[in-house]
């Protein structure tokens, strides 16, 4: 493991270097590539800082959907959940479906915050109303 600064801090500093010293000086394809690199670093930083906690929370939420033990392997738990949804084991309009939607929404919101929080903000701003035609 690295001493301080850790991986997340290094990524943050690299992003700042790109932002402050590179992005303003490049155009066209180079700018597009630099923007993508900065975005990838921001996502990786968010994953390093919060990914493990998010995975733990998601596993706990999936475990909470079942009465029987689910195990501690998140990938296997997700697999099982996907299969059970497809098999319609969370019937529409039931409390079980409500709990499922809570779990899915929480995990998806956490991921979206890490990947594109601006999209989330736009989405919430747009919640006001769609036009009636």
């Amino acid at each position: 493991m690295l001493p301080r600064p850790g991986a997340a801090d290094l990524l943050k500093m690299a992003q700042e270097a790109l932002q402050d010293h590179v992005l303003g000086k490049v155009e066209g394809e180079a700018k597009f590539a630099a923007l993508m690199a900065a975005r990838a670093m921001a996502i990786a930083e968010a994953e390093l800082r919060g990914g493990a906690a998010a995975d733990k929370a998601e596993l706990k939420a999936i475990q909470g959907l079942y009465e029987e033990p689910v195990g501690d392997d998140l990938a296997a738990a997700r697999q099982r959940l996907a299969a059970d949804i497809r098999a319609r084991r969370f019937a529409s309009g039931t409390p079980r479906e409500v709990r499922l939607l809570d779990a899915l929404t929480a995990a998806t919101a956490t991921r979206l915050r890490a990947v594109n929080i601006k999209y989330m903000a736009q989405r919430q701003r747009g919640k006001v109303a769609e036009s009636a035609v």
């Binding site: 949804i85 319609r88 969370f90 998806t108 990947v115 594109n116 919640k127």
Partner: protein, 343 residues
């Protein structure tokens, strides 16, 4: 990156155009094709019926593609059908389907002026141009939707898979199969596909649909439409799928208040379409297809991400595209649980 063998391309064009000679100058590679490579080329034809200079685009397959995308020969037939129906598309010129000339099939179409990239389109519009543009796009879409499976024109489209009025059941099965081909499970998409089936309105009419009709896939110059692009996903479908796709939030490029493609009002878009069909737009059906649109975009995004993750085509752009599935999942969870059948 360069375009292989302009001389061989020129010889092919001369043969196709009934000319004694032709010359091709490569202007440059065009941005934006994740599944195809597009090259701006200038073609000088020495004689014959098409003698003269033609500004054109050569479109060929990228290194790797995704399963749902039509190869170039089929895309050429689709764009030709649209052109015959009077849809504003770049005029299709010549198809080389064998791959013998440059190692990959390609076709050439007339180059149209303007920009296509979504955010650039939005930035370039004056406020009063948005509604005019989406009204025109609605009208254009109605022309494409005039092609139905029993048409004479549809003979050239015999390669399109038949679909029935149970289209949504077929679509759900296809999506599940697509998810099974991906390495990771996607519980949100599984939920959304169930809802798509449960909320399905009756499909009453099938027509030739673009199936990627959205901002980003048409060219605009000075606020005016110059050409509808990218027929690689086209096929028989419920025409309302195209209207819903155009209005879907994931294709508004941040301008969520402009419900028609981030560009103009829903009312103007519907008005253009109704003008072309002579029938009012059924808003509930548009809203249904709009709400389920992120399922398809999520699957395509995941497939794009997998092109990178599998090592087939390492690309940061493709890797980041894969992550866009999360935006779709968030939209699906925001819209589908509260939606009711027919609303």
């Amino acid at each position: 990156m360069t375009l292989a063998d302009p001389e061989a391309i020129a010889a092919f064009i001369a043969r196709s155009a009934g000319a004694s000679d032709a010359a091709v100058t490569v202007v440059g590679r065009l941005a934006g094709g994740a599944i195809q490579d597009n090259w701006a080329v200038n073609v000088e034809i020495a004689d014959g019926p098409m003698a003269g200079l033609h500004e054109a685009v050569l479109r060929t397959d990228a290194v790797s593609g995704i399963a749902e995308s039509w190869p170039r020969a089929q895309e050429f037939a689709l764009i030709s059908a649209a052109y015959e129906m009077g849809v504003t598309v770049p005029q299709p010129l010549w198809l080389e389907p064998t791959g013998d000339v440059i190692g990959r099939p390609f076709y050439i179409m007339r180059r149209v002026k303007g920009v296509a990239q979504g955010r650039r389109v939005l930035r370039g519009l004056e406020p009063e141009q948005g509604d005019v543009l989406v009204r025109r796009l609605g009208l254009e879409l109605s022309k494409l939707h005039a092609v139905v499976p029993t048409d004479k024109l549809s003979a050239s489209l015999a390669f399109l898979p038949e679909v029935g009025l149970d289209l949504i059941v077929q679509r759900a099965a296809h999506y599940r199969k697509s998810l099974d081909a991906l390495p990771e499970p996607h519980p949100v998409l599984e939920y959304a596909i169930n809802r798509m089936e449960d909320l399905a309105p009756p499909v009453t009419r099938l027509a030739l649909c673009h199936r990627d009709f959205r901002t980003g896939n048409y060219m605009v110059d000075g606020g005016r439409l110059t050409g509808i692009l990218d027929f690689e996903f086209a096929g028989w479908s419920d025409p309302y799928e195209d209207l819903g796709w155009f209005c879907a939030r994931c294709w508004r490029f941040g301008a969520t208040e402009n419900e028609a493609g981030g560009v103009g009002s829903r009312a103007a878009f519907y008005a253009g379409y109704a003008e072309g069909t002579g029938r009012p737009v059924d808003d509930a059906r548009v809203r249904y297809w709009e709400a389920v649109a992120p399922i398809r975009w999520a699957i395509v995004a995941l497939q794009q991400g997998e092109r990178h993750a599998s090592g087939q085509e390492p690309s940061l752009d493709l890797a980041l595209t894969g992550l866009r599935a999360i935006e779709c999942e968030y939209d699906l969870l925001s819209d589908l649980p509260k939606m009711t059948r027919g609303a």
